[in-house]
Every structure is written in C-alpha cells, then in structure tokens.
C-alpha cells in the first residue's frame, strides 16, 4: 500500500531496533487519519529518534513519523510564545527564533529532539535547577486521541490528560501541535566558565553554589579516577551572553547510518582522554563565549560518538540523599569491567509536571556505557542502587529497567494508569518500553 513503508527504527543508543510498518504524514489531517487507521493494530509516534532505548519503538503496530509536520504556526515576539507542529526540532527553534531573541526552553543535548518528543519525555536541559523541565513551558497541547479526535489539553483544560501527556512517553496520544513559552535570550551566544573540581564532595558543594548564581550548570566527571581524585572533573556554569552571535547547527547532510560496530575501549585510553580534558581547563579556570548551538547540543558535535552502541544510564537522586546514591553508583561503575565513556552530573530543582516525569529536585547522573560484555549486569546492579536511594531512571534513556523497580521509582504510576484506562482502554498507543515496564497493567 502506498504511503506505508517497512522501516527499521532504532533507539539512539543503537541497542534496540524494530522493523515495523511506518507512515509519515505531511499534513495535519493525514496524521489524524494515520492514528485512526492504525488504531486497530496499535500506534506510536516517532519523532527525532533521539530516545536511547525502546520508548519510541513499537513492534506490534504502526510507527507514525512526525518529522514532516515541522511548521511554526504562530509566534508572539512579546511573550515568546510559539505554536508549532510536533515535528519541529529544538535546533530549528534555535535557528529561526534564536536571532529574534529566544532560546528553546529546557533544551536537551540533541538538536534533533522534536517538540512532540520533548513533551512525551518531559526533557530537561542544563538549566533544570532554575527552569524546570520542558513540560513547565508548555501552555497547551493539541493531542490526537485513539479515536482520532483532537483535543486541546492544558493546565486548565483536561488537566488530568495534560499531566498524563507530559512525560507520558506517547501513551496518551500523538502530539499534533503545541504552544510553548520560549526562554528570552539577549543574544545567540552563551558565556560559559569552566573550572576544575578535585573530588566528589567538592563537586556537590560547587553544584549547589553554582545553582544559586548561574542558570546553566553541568559537570563532566572523570569516571576512571580513583582514590582522592574520585569524582574529579570540570564544572561548567553558563548564562546567555549579553552580546555575541552565531547559533551553530549541525549539518543535516550527514547520513544516519545503523551503528558503528562495537569497538573495545581500553580503560587506559579513556582515562588518558579524561585526564587530557581536565588539563585543558587551567587551574585558574576558563571563560569563553560560544554559539548557543554548540553549548546546547554537545551531542551534535561528534557523529562517531553518537553512532556507538551504548547504554546511557541516566538517574536522578533526591536532595535528601545528599550524594550517597551518586557515590555508590560511581563506585559500582568504577569496580566493574565496563569503561564509562562519559559521566555527567547536573543539579535538578523542580519536579516535573507529569505523572511519569523524570525530574525531582536533587542530582542527576548520566553515564555512557558501551553495550556488550558486562553492561547489562552492571545496569541491573546500578538500577537496584538507584531504587534503594529513592532515585529513578529516565525512561527516555532506558532499555533495561524491570517493571517492579519502575513501579517503585514512579509513585504516580497509578494515576497515569487511571487516565490511560479511561482514554485508551483498548491500548492503541503502545511501545516496547510500555510492554517491558507493564505501564498499563496494575502489577500483580
């Protein structure tokens, strides 16, 4: 049948893939029709393909690709409110509206994340402590329900459905359009300062201090350091530069290929790389002004790195835990034979709006682990630690969590289940993640 292609869709971590019938509507009514036509067999929206695991993948059903619905429909330069279709990307918002004085809010690390995906995963950026997650900036959503009906949901109109859709990993429906309040920016550049951090205790203190003075903060940790240097790294704080230009966006011409075959990572090579990066920042620190895109989208800087097969462990620990869980996870990774390629710590400040929103006030930890020997065992151990410490795993990155731990980590799951059983009792919207984590069923 024309218009339906069998495509292999991958998670961004290249660990999960499905080959499914896919449709790619180019007009809004075609998207609505695609949901209606696909409903008997199951439907899931697929946007920029930047979710690492299986949350944007469906095996039994039709993938509705939203990237072609990429128009900006309204923009108010006074309030910074933009209405756009679901397939508009963060990079495009920055490219078009950056020069007009606005940045995408709660901007994640990839320019190709779509507005629809940002809502479904309630994404966040380096400014979570101050700006919260993406859902905090969403005024309303036009959502295509399983019946094909389009409803506008917001904090005032059907708030229960709004909260189920923010971070709802696509299970309430397909985002057609959304109205988002952008972040005001005096220029298209970012002023960033980096300084060295000697060890984990210093990091936790420095993050708290930085959160009070800087909107953006992120720490790169040397996951291979031991002993006194355990948890050493670089803390980068940043704010919009008062002047400066350049949005810098990645070339769209680089083809998306499957995955670079697994290569063995020598621990000594990664340790050497980490030490070199640390040395690049002098004792006195480093200040620079860079194009906003370079700051927001580190993931677009390397086409090789983003094609590696990897698991990205992304956890957040509550404030009350005061870094204990963070320390235990870093220790567990250090003790395993799996080499952490990248370790990032951020400070979170505002809990997400949605029932399955990831963010809680506390510390967020990202560890990139090459897929292969030992990775799954390590993740299993670490996920246990995260649960014990009252933390949670980010569904947008996950491909290994168990249903039991998921239910423990997300206490608002019953509220989401109630909404789903009401608006989509037949389970039209489904994903591999939802099946694995038994999002719909009450656990026995």
């Amino acid at each position: 049948m024309p218009g339906i292609a069998r495509l292999t869709l991958r998670g961004f971590g290249r660990t999960n893939s499905v080959t499914v019938p896919a449709v790619r509507p180019e007009r809004e009514h075609a998207l609505v029709a695609a949901v209606r036509d696909g409903a008997p067999d199951g439907v899931l929206a697929h946007g920029g393909g930047r979710s690492y695991g299986d949350c944007a993948l469906v095996k039994d059903g039709t993938a509705v690709l939203t990237r072609r619905l990429d128009r900006l429909l309204d923009f108010d330069a006074a309030s910074g409110e933009v209405v756009c279709e679901a397939g508009v990307t963060m990079g495009e918002v920055l490219r078009v509206l950056g020069p007009r004085g606005f940045f995408p809010p709660a901007c994640p690390g990839s320019a190709r994340v779509t507005i629809g995906g940002a809502i479904a995963n309630d994404v966040h950026g380096k400014d979570q402590a101050r700006a919260g997650s993406f859902g905090h900036h969403v005024r309303w959503i036009d959502l295509v329900l399983a019946s094909g009906e389009v409803v506008r949901v917001s904090r005032d109109a059907r708030p229960e459905l709004f909260e189920a859709t923010i971070g709802g990993v696509g299970l309430t429906g397909v985002v057609l359009r959304a109205c988002v309040t952008l972040a005001a920016a005096p220029s298209t550049a970012i002023a960033a300062r980096a300084r060295r951090i000697a060890h984990l205790d210093e990091l936790l203190i420095a993050l708290d201090q930085a959160a009070r003075t800087s909107p953006y903060l992120v720490a790169l940790i040397d996951g291979t350091a031991r002993g006194d240097a355990f948890g050493r790294g670089i803390l980068e704080t940043a704010e919009p530069a008062p002047d400066g230009t350049g949005t810098w966006l990645p070339s769209s011409r680089v083809p998306e290929v499957g995955a670079i075959p697994s290569v063995p990572f020598l621990p000594s090579a990664i340790a050497g790389w980490n030490a070199w990066r640390l040395r690049r920042v002098s004792e006195a620190g480093r200040s620079r002004t860079l194009a906003a895109g370079r700051f927001f989208f580190p993931l677009e800087a390397s086409h090789v790195y983003t094609h590696l097969r990897m698991h990205e462990l992304h956890a957040v620990f509550p404030e009350s835990d005061a870094g204990k869980g963070l320390r235990r996870v870093l220790e567990a990774v250090g003790d395993s034979e799996v080499v952490p390629l990248l370790v990032v710590v951020k400070r979170f400040g505002r809990p997400g709006l949605g029932h399955l929103s990831f963010a809680i006030p506390g510390h967020s930890l990202v560890i990139d682990l090459p897929a292969g020997a030992g990775a799954r065992e390590l993740l299993d151990r670490v996920e246990g630690t995260v649960a014990e410490h009252g933390g949670r795993i980010y569904l947008a990155k996950d491909s290994t969590l168990s249903a039991e731990r998921f239910a423990r980590m997300y206490p608002r799951l019953p509220a989401l289940r109630r909404v789903l059983s009401e608006i989509d009792p037949r389970g039209v919207f489904r994903s591999e993640l939802a099946a694995r984590l038994r999002v719909r069923e009450a656990s026995a």
């Binding site: 024309p2 218009g3 292609a5 180019e26 007009r27 809004e28 128009r71 923009f75 078009v96 769209s252």
Partner: protein
C-alpha cells in the same frame, strides 16, 4: 531579484514547502496555491515567521482548466508591480498497476501533470512577458527522459511538459525571463516513501536548495540531484531494441 514575488503552485508538496522556506528566509513575498487550503494556511504562517514579508494563499486546482484565467489574473493583481517568480510543483503519479487496472487514471495523470501546468503557465505568460525580471522554474522528472513500463503514463506527461517548457523558454527568453526545467530524481517525499525500487533518495531540503540555486542563476535544464544527468544519459543511449526487453 529581491522584489520578486514567488508564486508556488502545488505548495503542499514537501519540495515546494522547502523552496518556499528558502525564499521566505531571504525576505521574498510568497503566494501559495493549491487545493488543501488548511494546509496552505499552516505553511503561510510558517513562512511569515521565517521572514516572508507577506504570504497569500490562493485556491488552485490544476485539473480545473476553466479556472486558470481568473487565477492568473488574481496572481498578477497580488504581485502588483513586483515581478513574479513561478514554481510549478504539482503532479499526480499513481502506481502504474493502478493505471493499468483503471485507464481512467490516464486522463487524471496527464491533466494534473501536463495539461494543468501548460495551461496555467500559458495564462501567466503574458504577464511574465510584460514584467521586468522574474523567472519560471518547473519540476519535471527523470521519468520524462524515457518511457519505462513501470511508470510510462506519468513519464509521458512529464516528457510533454519538458517539450512545452522548451518552447516557453524560447518565448520568454526574448523578455529576459529564464525558464528552468528541473529534472528530479528520487526525492524523499510521500511519492517515494515506501515505494520499492527507489534509491539514492535526496532530502526535500537539499533538493530545494539546488532548485533555488538553478532558478536564480537562470539555468535551462538541470538534474537534481546532479548525478542523475550521467545516469539518464546512459539510460537514453540504450537502443530501443534492448530497452523494451528491460524490466525497469
């Protein structure tokens, strides 16, 4: 060149949208024409945010030949004193087996792909002759270079269009209005999505960038992507005696 008003015919196609974005971001006025007015209004909003100083939406049905005279007059009126740059981006390409099962589709294909284009261009031609500047760019197809069993109804309509444009090019050349024929290979649109036998598919954005470049330098005939030129030369050189035996 800066005061051109771009008239985009068949503006719901992804290539037309991408071309419109290109010119809108450089501050040109745009007239979007097509059948799906809701869709065109969404594109119009997008273009205005991206920098088009003014965007108009006009209903246009390529197959409704009787409406073309009034349509051309309305376009001239909207453009005012500005020269028109015309992009013809509409076509109708049914699957060949569907045409074979229902020969009525032959007429629909030729009407929407050839007759509609020739007709509207003919109604616009006097205005194009009288204006200072402007241009015409028409999306043809490599399918028009040689009739193939898999796609020959559509291909023959495009071949007719190519021949029409040769004549129009000579006519408007006297008035310094270039006419550019773009012979498109596979572009990643709904026309090719999920169709077996497509390869080396170009993105609508990269195709649009090339189309605007060729149109603005007043090229005559260009293949997009450009590697289709040697490829189609090879295809055209195959003797008919052999070609008729090939399953292409």
């Amino acid at each position: 060149m800066t005061d051109e008003t771009w008239l985009v015919l068949g503006a719901s196609s992804p290539i037309a949208r991408a071309v419109a974005r290109h010119v809108a971001e450089r501050g040109r006025r745009v007239i979007l024409a097509g059948r799906d007015l809701d869709d065109l209004r969404a594109t119009a909003a997008d273009l205005a945010i991206r920098g088009a100083p003014r965007v108009d939406v006009l209903p246009f049905d390529a197959s409704d030949l009787g409406s073309h005279a009034a349509f051309a007059a309305r376009c001239a009126e909207l453009a005012g004193t500005a020269p028109l740059a015309v992009l013809v981006a509409f076509a109708f390409m049914p699957e060949q087996p569907d045409v074979d099962a229902d020969p009525a589709l032959v007429r629909r294909t030729v009407d929407a792909t050839f007759t509609g284009a020739a007709s509207v261009l003919h109604w616009l031609a006097p205005r194009l002759e009288s204006q200072a500047g402007g241009r015409v760019v028409v999306l043809g197809s490599v399918a028009g270079d040689r009739g193939r069993p898999r796609n020959y109804v559509y291909g023959s309509a495009k071949a007719g269009l190519h021949a029409y444009l040769q004549g129009l090019r000579a006519r408007l050349h006297r008035h310094r209005v270039p006419v550019t024929t773009i012979k498109l290979g596979f572009v990643d649109t709904a026309m090719t999505f999920g169709r077996p036998g497509t390869f080396l598919v170009a993105s609508p954005e990269s195709a649009a960038a090339a189309i605007v470049r060729h149109a603005e330098c007043g090229a005559d005939v260009r293949y997009v992507p450009s590697f289709w030129r040697p490829l189609m030369l090879g295809v055209r050189l195959i003797p008919e005696r052999i070609f008729k035996r090939l399953d292409v």
